[in-house]
């Protein structure tokens, strides 16, 4: 018995290593799919594997990835946020309104935009925790509300004529690297740390994994959920501000349908809609996969009708490949 137990604890034992490897394999499955797609593209078009093109892909992916990070937090706790696309629009319009040249310093539109996103997210969290309404409905409601707000605030017209310093945020380069990529990397690291290294992150998994057990362990469910939705709002605001800056306009209809892309990235990355599992690395990989496919199809000049078909097939295919590698149950 004792010996037996000790052998289980022996970190050098074959079975232990195997187990750890099997738990990790999920990521590898996706990684394999990702590498396969990249390889296929490198072989079919020489333009794919150039530093410049890879940089462009990451730039294009970054907005979706930021949103996907936010929604990963939410999904891990067992929730969902459909309003992220609308938050992108609201925060973008709000930021743009304060970003005209020679009005306010650039910090103002950024701060106001972020605040708007945090408030919007907090409102989602408030309704989800206070009412017994499923998050799907709450955020479907606020998605509609948010879209309406963005249109009201902008009177249905793009808010343009933004200051150069504001347009730098999402459109500039620092040492040759696009600001979007820098923001993406910094945010990715921050989100990973929150999820893996903090008490809050642990609580997210616990709440999503078994709400009752989390509660019985003294975790305040509503606090965790509030924080998570607020965080998601904040990240959506960041995405909204960057998008607005990149296209140098605050658009009331920006971000429509972004929620699906972001959720797709998270789920392709291994986050389960039933909550309790998911990693930021997976989500990033999911977002990159979508970005690479879309870039590749453009490079190969696939007709737009067929692009959609191919995109759909590859997404399903990648996740199939992923789950074949996965341990059963």
């Amino acid at each position: 018995m004792e010996n037996n137990l000790n052998s289980y604890f022996d970190k050098d034992s074959g079975s232990y290593k195997l187990l750890v490897r099997l738990q990790e394999v999920r990521k590898y499955g996706l990684l394999i799919a990702f590498v396969a797609v990249c390889l296929a593209l490198s072989l079919t078009t020489p333009r794919f594997l150039t530093i410049q093109n890879l940089m462009i892909i990451v730039t294009q992916v970054s907005i979706n990835a930021l949103l996907a990070f936010g929604v990963t937090f939410v999904i891990i706790t067992g929730g969902i946020d459909l309003s992220i696309g609308s938050m992108v629009a609201v925060t973008g319009v709000v930021a743009a309104t304060f970003a005209h040249p020679d009005e306010y310093p650039v910090i103002v539109p950024v701060a106001v935009g972020l605040l708007a996103g945090l408030l919007f997210g907090a409102f989602n969290g408030f309704v989800v925790t206070r009412s017994k309404v499923p998050p799907f409905i709450v955020t479907l409601g606020t998605m509609t509300i948010g879209r309406g707000l963005a249109l009201i605030l902008s009177k249905g017209r793009p808010v343009s004529n933004l200051s150069d310093s504001f347009n730098f945020i999402g459109g500039g380069k620092i040492l040759g690297i696009p600001t979007l990529i820098i923001t993406l990397i910094v945010t990715f690291i921050a989100c990973t740390v929150v999820l893996r290294k903090t008490v809050l992150g642990r609580y997210m998994y616990a709440v999503g994994g078994n709400e009752q057990a989390a509660r019985a362990s003294g975790i305040e469910l509503s606090t965790v959920k509030m924080i998570v939705y607020t965080l998601c709002g904040g990240l959506a605001a960041l995405a909204g501000i960057l998008l607005t800056s990149r296209i140098t306009t605050g658009q009331p209809n920006a971000g429509a349908g972004f929620e699906l892309d972001a959720i797709a990235a998270a789920i392709i990355g291994g986050t389960s809609t039933s909550g309790g599992t998911g990693t930021m690395t997976g989500t990033l990989l999911g977002a990159l996969l979508i970005g690479v496919i879309s870039n590749g199809l453009d490079l190969l000049n696939v007709t737009s009708y067929y692009q959609q078909v191919v995109m759909g097939i590859i997404i399903i295919g990648a996740v199939v490949l992923d789950s074949v590698n996965q341990i059963k149950n």
């Binding site: 093109n53 490079l299 000049n301």
Partner: protein
Amino acid sequence: NQSTTSETSKNGDGKKLVIGATMLSMQNEFIVNVHDEMAKKAEADGIDLITVDAERSALKQVEQVESFIAQHVDAIIMNPCEVEASSPAVAKALAAKIPIINVNSETSTKPSAFVGSDDVESARIAMKFIAEKLGGKGTIVMMHGYMGQAAQIKREQGAREILKQYPNIKLIAHQTAEWDRAKAMSLMENWIQSYGSQINAVFAQNDEMGLGAAKALADAGLKDKVVVVSIDAIPDALQAVQKGTLDATVFQNAQQQGSKAIETAEKIIKGQPYEKETLIPFQLVTKANLSQFMK
């Protein structure tokens, strides 16, 4: 019948005329402009204008017209989503003896009156400009709107008509950016990767996409080498033409479309003679004639 009784009642006791309007999409800047002009004119003439947003869905539009009919409005103004799919709405209104005026674009079923312009023409104008600018020779790319929508189909048709006349202009790629500036920017970035300096001109089916393409080209340092032309002449696009980032756009007169639509509706209701078809011409906007379009 209902519409005549309401007509007498309003003529008798001075009750306000009610016009129902269903718009393609209130998230489209040009359509919002048309609508605002309609609202302005209606207000000035003391008319109640009920506006609904079809959100680009022909089904929704048909339903909205049904609803207007049930409410016995005096006239309906429809900014159609689709040539064919919005047609049942026209037929239904006519069957209910309520005048229906199409604004901005057409349906296959002839309405009581039409005010607007032909989208095919706008693309012809834009593409012709590109062809002339390139001297009838070069390679170009085209950005589609949302695939399958009336405006996308017609603008593609117009562009291709002109391209046929210029066999030395090669369309090397065409792809949808769904009317969206951010998507257009990404698409252009990818095209630059693919074709680099091969591209001589970009035709975008609306200004939003044109502006996105121009931004991507500018970021890549290629703007001077590539002609970018789009359609709609939204304020941002006019600004861009002034700055030279956009070479040309095609002006569609929202002010005239809006006010003429209301005017025609009024005439029909009051039994006055009216134009069955009011065609408002497109105009090419370049740096040369920009001043007359800037407010």
